[in-house]
């Protein structure tokens, strides 16, 4: 189950890291595109906030998916019968 996720994320990381040091390839560098009036502390704050939020969401996602898998495809037979009947 985790392989599609790993492939997806790895592709994304390749695109983002491979483009460095450009923000838009050949047009603007990452260092040039930072806002001069946004303080480093503010970005640390939001980075930590996003990290915390996505960690929480990731844990909830795994919990809910595992729970769905454990409970099994209980609705599937009914859906198939309904489709066959129509």
């Amino acid at each position: 189950m985790p392989f599609p996720y790993i492939a997806n994320e790895a592709g994304w990381v390749t695109a983002e890291v491979g483009r460095q040091p450009w923000m838009v390839y050949g047009l603007i560098r990452t260092a040039e595109s930072a806002s001069p009036n946004v303080a480093a502390g503010e970005t640390v704050f939001t980075l930590l906030g996003f990290a915390g939020m996505y960690f929480l969401l990731g844990v909830l996602f795994i919990l809910i998916v595992l729970r769905e898998i454990a409970s099994g495809p209980e609705h599937e037979p009914a859906a198939i019968t309904a489709a066959a009947a129509s």
Partner: protein, 330 residues
């Protein structure tokens, strides 16, 4: 053409406030109008098919912003915008995760998250609107010079409170019209408190606005804009009249008219500025000082207007198709 672009931007923002306004407002009154699980599910189901689409209007309006305003505001208001984004995320999570576990603690946690995030979102958006009308300090390069605390000035906070009251009224009118049983009855009694609150706040904010950013020059140049506050007043009166007559659909429509008039009035006050300077509006960004390149504008405007008409027509069609009934608490 620049003026047309301004009108398109205002129309998109207005669509956002009118549409997302009722689901944010329903969130703000959620804990009060719905007391048990069945009622809370009913309130959430009444906005379930709409809220996500309604929110997209905010993104569309962001995309329709003039490039320099986009740059100035997104770096100048970095923290408030991030807080806004987190609140939007928490609200969306509450919708999606609430029903996942049959636990009272889990559900009431997300009920509170939904209500608190909705209310704070309205407050933040209202404070933002207040600051746009009042103006923000920008330097010659259009960088925002103020601080987070500058944005929390009494006028902007007053507009924020008005926004909370007005959208809570909008949300209560929605619940009264679209949910059956006890939540509708409680929404009607909420309206009896919210309506006078809106009336008092709108009176204060209107008077103070003339001192903060007087619309009188625009009024003299184009007297027709006086129609906007008149529509607004008619809408607010309509909310009271139709609520007393027990015609909740009409009351909701009147609340929509009230908000539309209010937003048109704000736009007419701010015009031609998008982000007025403070203390002198001239130091800010106006639609003439911050236009997109003419070619970009000529390309994007027909597409944007066509898209706007298409989406509005589709939204009306879906709205009418789904408009048939009221959600019953089960």
């Amino acid at each position: 053409m620049i003026v047309v672009a301004f009108v398109v931007l205002v129309a998109m923002l207005a669509a956002y406030v009118l549409l997302d306004g009722y689901d944010l407002g329903a969130g703000a009154v959620h804990l009060f109008v719905a007391r048990n699980d069945a009622e809370r599910v009913a309130v959430m189901e009444s906005i379930g098919p709409y809220w996500n689409g309604n929110e997209v209007w905010l993104i569309a309006a962001g995309g329709a912003l003039f490039p320099q305003v986009y740059a100035s505001s997104f770096s100048g208001f970095y923290l408030p915008f991030m807080v806004l984004l987190w609140l939007l995320m928490f609200r969306g999570i509450a919708f999606e995760l609430r029903g996942q576990f049959p636990s009272d603690l889990w559900r009431s946690f997300f009920d509170v998250t939904f209500a608190v995030a909705s209310t704070l979102l309205i407050l933040v958006l209202g404070v933002a609107l207040g600051n746009i009308v009042r103006g923000v300090p920008l330097d010659a390069g259009h960088y925002f010079l103020g601080t987070f605390t500058f944005l929390l000035n009494p006028y902007a906070l007053g507009v924020g409170l008005l926004a909370v009251a007005a959208l809570a009224q909008h949300g209560a009118a929605w619940v009264a019209a679209r949910v059956d049983g006890a939540p509708a009855a409680r929404a009607r009694s909420a309206l009896k408190i919210l309506w006078p609150a809106v009336l008092v706040l709108i009176a204060i904010v209107t008077i103070v606005t003339f001192a903060v950013h007087s619309p009188s020059a625009n009024l003299r140049a184009m007297p027709a804009i006086a129609l906007a506050p008149l529509c607004s007043a008619a809408g607010l009166a309509g909310v009271a009249v139709f609520s007393l007559q027990r015609r909740p659909r009409r009351a909701f429509e009147a609340s929509t008219l009230f908000l539309a008039g209010l937003l048109a009035s704000s736009a007419a006050t701010v015009y031609p500025y998008l982000l007025p300077g403070y203390p002198a509006p001239q130091t800010g960004l106006s639609i003439f000082s911050a236009p997109a390149p003419p070619f970009a504008l000529a390309t994007i405007l027909p597409v944007a207007i066509g898209g706007l008409i298409f989406v509005a027509a589709y939204r009306t069609f879906v709205g009418l198709r789904l408009n048939a009934g009221r959600v019953k608490p089960r």
